[in-house]
C-alpha cells in the first residue's frame, strides 16, 4: 500500500468525512462545524496541489476497489480530472467561507453543511472517476446531495424547485445508467482512456453505440442543461445563494458538461464519435441551447433567473467546444469549464449579496446599487463582462479558442454566428444591469435592508468570496498564456487527448 494509490481516495474523503460528521453535530456547535469545514477544504486543497504537481510530472495516482466481478470503482487522476478537481476545490473553499457567512443565523445548518460537503465530494469523485461506473456512481450521488440543498429553504417554491430538479436529474441519471450498462455489456470494461477505445469494436455494434451515445448524452445533458432538458435549472434558483453558486459554477451543470467531455473524448474518442456522425447533432443542440438560453435570459427580471438562463447558455459552450473537431476547439471547450465556473460563481455570490444585504432579487430593483455596494457590484461587473467575452476577464479566451477551433475545423460558418449572436445577447442582458447598478439613481429605500453598512458594505464573509473569484476570473484571462493557467492546462489535456 502506498500513498500514491490512496491519494485520489483521500481527496474525496477529505470533504466526505467531515460532511458525514457534520450531520451528527448539534445545531449549536457552530465553531466545530466551521473548523471541520475549513480544515476539510484546506486539506483537500493541499492534496490536490500534490496531485496536480504529480500529474504534471506524469505520476500516476489511482485507487481501485472491486464492487463486483467486472465492476471496479476507479479513482484516477489525469490531466482532465485534475483541472476539474482544482476548480471544485478552490471554489469550494471560497464557497464554504461564503456559505458560513450567508447562513449565519438560519436553521438546519448541520444538515446544510453536511450535504454541502457530500456534494463537493461527489463532484470531486466524478472528476476523478477512472471509468464510467465510477462516474455514474458519483453522478447520482451528486443528484442526491444537491436535492436537500435546493430544498433547503423548505418553502413550497423550494420544494417545488427541488422536485423538478430531481425529476429531471434522476431521469437523466437513469438514462445514463442504462446507457452505461449497455455499453458495459457490449464493450466490457469502460475505463476512461485518452482517445477512447470504442473504435476497436466491430462495425456491427455501431448502431447500438449510437443509441447508447444518445442515451448517455441525454442523461448527461440534463445536468448540463442542454435544451430541451434545461427546465430544472431556472427552477432550482430557489436554493440559497451559495448553493446556486456551486450548482451553476462547479457541481451540477459542470458535472454534466464534464461527463460529455469524458464520453466523447475518453470513451468514444472524438474522431470515432465524428465517424459515427454524432458530433454534429450534439453541436446543433449546443448551438440551440446557447442561443435559447441567452434569449430567455433577456426577459427575466429575477436576477438569479437571468443568471440561470445565462448558465444554460454558457455551459453549452463546453459542449460546443467538444463538437468542434480538432485540438483548438477542444481547448476552448475545456478551458471554458474553468472560466465559466469562476465567472458564474462570482455572479451568484454577488446576487446572493444583493439579496442578503438589501433584499434585492430583481433586476428592476437594482437601480444605483453600485453606489451602496460598490465592491460587490464591481465583482458583478467583472463577471458580467467576462460572460460577454470582454477581455481581460477570462471569457474571451474561451470564445477565442472556440471560434478559432471552428475555423480550423471548417465549421465557422455556423459556429461563429452562434458565438457572435450569443455574445451580443449576453451583452444585451448583462449591460443593462450594469447600467442600472452604476448609472441610475438609487431608490430611496431598498426592498429590505438586512445588513447595514459598517466597515464594509456587507458582511466580510460575503464580500471577500466574490472579490476573490472576480480577481481569479481576471487573472485567468490576463495570465492565460502563463504556465499552470487554465488555458495552459487545457492545452496539456488536449495534447494528451489527441496524442500530440
Amino acid at each position: 500500500m502506498n500513498f500514491d494509490t490512496w491519494l485520489p481516495l483521500f481527496v474525496v474523503l477529505s470533504s466526505l468525512l467531515p460532511g458525514l460528521v457534520m450531520f451528527f453535530l448539534d445545531e449549536g456547535s457552530h465553531r466545530l462545524r466551521t473548523v471541520l469545514n475549513m480544515s476539510g477544504a484546506l486539506l483537500k486543497l493541499l492534496l490536490v496541489g500534490v496531485i496536480t504537481w504529480g500529474v504534471f510530472h506524469q505520476h500516476i495516482y489511482e485507487t481501485r476497489w472491486t464492487l463486483a466481478p467486472g465492476l471496479e470503482l476507479v479513482l484516477h487522476a489525469d490531466t482532465l480530472s485534475v483541472l476539474f478537481v482544482i476548480l471544485s476545490t478552490v471554489l469550494w473553499l471560497v464557497t464554504t467561507v461564503y456559505a458560513i457567512g450567508y447562513l449565519e443565523k438560519s436553521p438546519h445548518r448541520s444538515r446544510f453543511f453536511g450535504f454541502f460537503s457530500v456534494c463537493v465530494s461527489a463532484t470531486v469523485g466524478l472528476a476523478l472517476a477512472g471509468n464510467l461506473l465510477t462516474f455514474v456512481l458519483f453522478y447520482e450521488l451528486l443528484t442526491l446531495a444537491t436535492y436537500p440543498l435546493v430544498a433547503h429553504r423548505g418553502t413550497p417554491e423550494a420544494l417545488r424547485g427541488a422536485r423538478i430538479y430531481l425529476a429531471y436529474t434522476l431521469t437523466g441519471g437513469v438514462l445514463l445508467f442504462t446507457g452505461t450498462v449497455w455499453l458495459h455489456s457490449i464493450a466490457g470494461s469502460i475505463a476512461f482512456v485518452e482517445g477512447g477505445t470504442l473504435n476497436q469494436l466491430h462495425a456491427d455494434y455501431h448502431p447500438q453505440l449510437k443509441v447508447i451515445f444518445l442515451l448517455m448524452i441525454t442523461g448527461l445533458g440534463v445536468k448540463a442543461a442542454l435544451v430541451p432538458l434545461h427546465g430544472w435549472l431556472p427552477q432550482a434558483m430557489v436554493a440559497p445563494a451559495p448553493v446556486s453558486a456551486l450548482l451553476h459554477a462547479v457541481a451540477v451543470v459542470k458535472a454534466g458538461a464534464f461527463g460529455i467531455i469524458r464520453v466523447v473524448y475518453d470513451v468514444y474518442g472524438v474522431e470515432f464519435t465524428h465517424e459515427l456522425g454524432l458530433l454534429t447533432g450534439l453541436g446543433i443542440i449546443a448551438a440551440i441551447t446557447i442561443i435559447y438560453g441567452s434569449v430567455k435570459a433577456l426577459s427575466q427580471d429575477n436576477l438569479k433567473k437571468r443568471l440561470a438562463y445565462s448558465t444554460v447558455s454558457q455551459v453549452s459552450y463546453i459542449a460546443l467546444g467538444i463538437t468542434i473537431l480538432g485540438p483548438i476547439g477542444t481547448i476552448g471547450g475545456i478551458v471554458h469549464l474553468v472560466h465559466q465556473g469562476v465567472m458564474k460563481i462570482t455572479l451568484f455570490f454577488t446576487a446572493g449579496n444583493y439579496a442578503e444585504t438589501l433584499g434585492i432579487h430583481k433586476v428592476s430593483e437594482m437601480d444605483g446599487v453600485g453606489q451602496r455596494m460598490p465592491a460587490t457590484t464591481l465583482a458583478f461587473s467583472i463577471g458580467a463582462l467576462g460572460m460577454i467575452g470582454i477581455p481581460p476577464v477570462a471569457g474571451y479566451v474561451s470564445k477565442w479558442y472556440l471560434a478559432l477551433g471552428s475555423l480550423e475545423a471548417g465549421m465557422a460558418w455556423w459556429v461563429m454566428p452562434v458565438l457572435v449572436t450569443s455574445s451580443l445577447l449576453n451583452a444585451a442582458y448583462f449591460l443593462p444591469i450594469l447600467y442600472r447598478a452604476w448609472f441610475k439613481q438609487p431608490a430611496t429605500k431598498w426592498p429590505s435592508e438586512k445588513i447595514l453598512p459598517a466597515r464594509f458594505e456587507t458582511q466580510a464573509a460575503l464580500l471577500w468570496p466574490p472579490l476573490i473569484t472576480a480577481v481569479l476570473a481576471i487573472a485567468a484571462g490576463m495570465f492565460a498564456a502563463s504556465p499552470y493557467s487554465p488555458l495552459e492546462w487545457a492545452s496539456l489535456i488536449t495534447r494528451r487527448e489527441y496524442g500530440l
Binding site: 463582462l385 470582454i390 477581455p391 481581460p392 477565442w400 478559432l404 452604476w438 448609472f439 492565460a480
Partner: protein, 530 residues
C-alpha cells in the same frame, strides 16, 4: 526605460482611474503625460514582449503608431485638461473622469499593442468606457444615443474579433507581420471593414455617430471625434493587407463607400442645426475621404506606402482639428467673446485645408501619390480631393454660422479655462512649420480658395434661406427609418408568434385533456385504489 514608458503609457491611466474616483481635485488627465513622452521621445521600433500576459502580449511603437500616439495623446491631454477646468464641479464628475481615463487607457493600449488580443482589448475598453461618457448627461436623448452607440460598438467589437480570428487562423500569429497578411481570406477583410467601418462612421454604419457626438459632453466629443474615431484607420492599416496584394473588389468597395460617406456627410451635415452635429457629419465626410484613400491603396499596392503616409497625416490633422473645434464650441459658449470665435475659425480653416494653413500641407502629402500614380484610377484621387475639400468647407461654414448664432447668448467666464484649447489651436497652426521646413503656405488650389472665400462672404451676409433648411434630416438620419422598419417587423413577428402560440396552446390543452381522460379510464379499469 523606453519599454517601461511604453507600458506606462496605457497602464498609468488605467491605474489612476480608480484613484480618480476618490479625489476629485487631483488633475487626473496628467495620466496622459507618459503617452505624450512616449510619443515624442521613445524611438520608433521599440518593442516589449510579455509572453505571460493574455495569450502572449506584444507591445511596440512603429512609425504609424508613433504618429497616432502623438496626436491622440495631445488630444486626450488637452481634452482632459479642459474637462478638469470646465466640469470639475459638475455632477458625476468623478464618474466621468473614471471612464475618461479608462477610455484613454484603451486608446493608448490599442495604439501601442502589436498583437491582436491587446488591440481588441484596448478597442473594447475604449469603446465601452466611452459609453459612460456619452450618457453622461443622462437625458433621454443621451441615453438613446448611448444605447445606439453601445449596440454599434458591440457589433463592431464582434466583427473585429471575428476578423482577427480569421487572420490568426491564416497567419498563426497574434502579431502578424505585414508580409504574412497577404492572402488572408475575404471573411477576414470583410469583418475588419465592417467592424472598423462602424467605428469610422462609414455610411450606413454611421448612424450612432451624429447622435453620440451630439449627446456627449464636449471634452468627450472631442476625444471621440479626434482620437477614438481614427483608430479605425490604424486598424485597417495594420491588419488589412494594404500594399501586400491587389484587392480590386474590396478596394473599389472602400472607395465607393468612402465617396458616399463624403457626399452623404456633407449633405446631411449642412442641414443640421446643432454645431456638434455638423461637426459629427463632417467627421463622417472626412473619414469617408480617408477610407477611400485606403481603398485606393488596396487597388494600387505599389502606391500604398505614400497613401498610408497620407492617411496617417490626414488622420492626425483631422483629429487635432476636429477636437479643437469641439473643444472650441465649449470655449466659445463659455467665454462668449469675439476673440474666441475668431480663434475657432482657425481649426475650421485648417480642416477645410484653407491656404496658408496647415491644412494645405495635405497637398504636400498627397502630391507624391498623384505624381507617381499609374493606372486606371488616376482621375479618381483629384476628384475625391476636391469633393472632400469642398464638402468640408461647406460644413465648416455651416458650423461657423451656427456658432455665430450661439455667440451672443451666454454669460462670460474667465478666459483661463481656454488656455489648453488655445495651445491646441496654436499647435495646429504652427506645428507644420516646425515639422516640415519645406512647407510653404501658398495658394495652389484656386478653386478651393474661391469656395472658401465665397463661403466666408456668405457667412458674413447670412442669407435667410440658410435658416430654412435645418431639421430636414435629424441627427442619426437613417436610424429612424430603420427603427420604424424594425418596430413594424417586430410587431408583425409578435402577432405571428401569438397566433402560432395560441394554436399550440389549444393543441396542448387538448392533448392534456385526452391524456387525463386516458388516465381516468385506466384507473377505472383497475378498480381504483386497493
Amino acid at each position: 526605460m523606453n519599454e517601461q514608458l511604453l507600458i506606462l503609457s496605457w497602464l498609468l491611466p488605467l491605474l489612476v482611474a480608480p484613484l480618480a474616483l476618490f479625489n476629485r481635485h487631483w488633475p487626473a488627465s496628467l495620466a496622459a503625460v507618459p503617452a505624450l513622452i512616449t510619443a515624442f521621445f521613445v524611438p520608433a521600433g521599440t518593442v516589449v514582449q510579455i509572453p505571460w500576459l493574455f495569450l502572449g502580449s506584444h507591445f511596440g511603437l512603429d512609425h504609424n503608431a508613433s504618429i497616432f500616439l502623438m496626436f491622440s495623446a495631445v488630444i486626450w491631454f488637452v481634452a482632459g485638461l479642459q474637462a478638469e477646468l470646465t466640469m470639475r464641479n459638475a455632477p458625476l464628475w468623478a464618474r466621468f473622469r473614471f471612464f475618461f481615463l479608462l477610455a484613454m487607457s484603451g486608446n493608448f493600449w490599442l495604439i501601442l499593442s502589436q498583437d491582436m488580443v491587446n488591440f481588441y482589448l484596448g478597442f473594447s475598453l475604449m469603446g465601452l468606457s466611452a459609453y459612460a461618457l456619452v450618457i453622461h448627461s443622462a437625458t433621454s436623448k443621451s441615453l438613446f444615443a448611448g444605447r445606439v452607440y453601445l449596440i454599434m460598438t458591440l457589433l463592431a467589437e464582434s466583427a473585429l474579433l471575428a476578423g482577427f480570428l480569421f487572420i490568426y487562423s491564416h497567419t498563426g500569429s497574434l502579431a502578424p507581420a505585414a508580409g504574412q497578411l497577404a492572402g488572408i481570406s475575404n471573411w477576414a477583410i470583410g469583418f475588419l471593414i465592417l467592424g472598423l467601418g462602424i467605428k469610422a462612421g462609414l455610411v450606413f454604419l454611421h448612424v450612432w455617430l451624429p447622435l453620440t457626438y451630439t449627446a456627449a459632453p464636449i471634452p468627450a466629443s472631442a476625444v471621440l471625434s479626434g482620437a477614438m474615431i481614427n483608430v479605425a484607420l490604424l486598424g485597417w492599416i495594420r491588419y488589412l493587407p494594404v500594399g501586400q496584394e491587389t484587392l480590386p473588389e474590396w478596394g473599389s468597395l472602400l472607395v465607393i463607400a468612402g465617396t458616399a460617406s463624403i457626399v452623404f456627410g456633407a449633405v446631411a451635415g449642412l442641414v443640421q442645426s446643432k454645431a456638434k452635429t455638423v461637426l459629427a457629419y463632417s467627421s463622417i465626410s472626412k473619414m469617408g475621404f480617408m477610407t477611400s484613400l485606403i481603398g485606393l491603396a488596396m487597388l494600387a499596392p505599389e502606391q500604398s506606402e505614400y497613401i498610408v503616409m497620407a492617411v496617417v497625416f490626414l488622420a492626425a490633422y483631422h483629429g487635432l482639428a476636429k477636437s479643437a473645434l469641439f473643444l472650441g464650441i465649449g470655449i466659445v459658449k463659455a467665454i462668449n467673446s469675439k476673440l474666441t470665435f475668431m480663434l475657432l475659425l482657425l481649426p475650421a480653416l485648417v480642416l477645410a485645408a484653407a491656404p496658408f494653413t496647415a491644412g494645405s500641407m495635405m497637398k504636400t502629402v498627397i502630391r507624391p501619390v498623384i505624381d507617381n500614380w499609374q493606372g486606371e484610377w488616376i482621375h479618381v484621387l483629384p476628384i475625391l480631393l476636391l469633393t472632400s475639400s469642398f464638402a468640408t468647407a461647406m460644413l465648416m461654414v455651416r458650423f461657423l454660422v451656427i456658432m455665430s448664432v450661439e455667440l451672443s447668448l451666454r454669460p462670460k467666464k474667465s478666459f483661463s479655462i481656454a488656455l489648453p484649447w488655445v495651445c491646441l489651436v496654436a499647435l495646429l497652426i504652427f506645428v507644420p512649420f516646425l515639422l516640415d521646413h519645406s512647407f510653404s503656405p501658398v495658394i495652389d488650389s484656386w478653386p478651393l480658395a474661391a469656395v472658401i472665400t465665397g463661403s466666408l462672404l456668405l457667412l458674413y451676409i447670412r442669407p435667410p434661406w440658410m435658416y430654412s433648411l435645418p431639421g430636414l434630416i435629424p441627427a442619426g438620419d437613417l436610424l429612424f427609418p430603420m427603427m420604424t422598419l424594425g418596430a413594424s417587423a417586430r410587431l408583425y413577428i409578435r402577432a405571428f408568434t401569438c397566433r402560432v402560440n395560441s394554436k399550440i396552446k389549444t393543441l396542448i390543452c387538448q392533448l392534456n385533456n385526452n391524456f387525463r381522460n386516458l388516465i381516468r379510464f385506466a384507473l377505472s379499469l383497475t378498480g381504483g385504489k386497493s
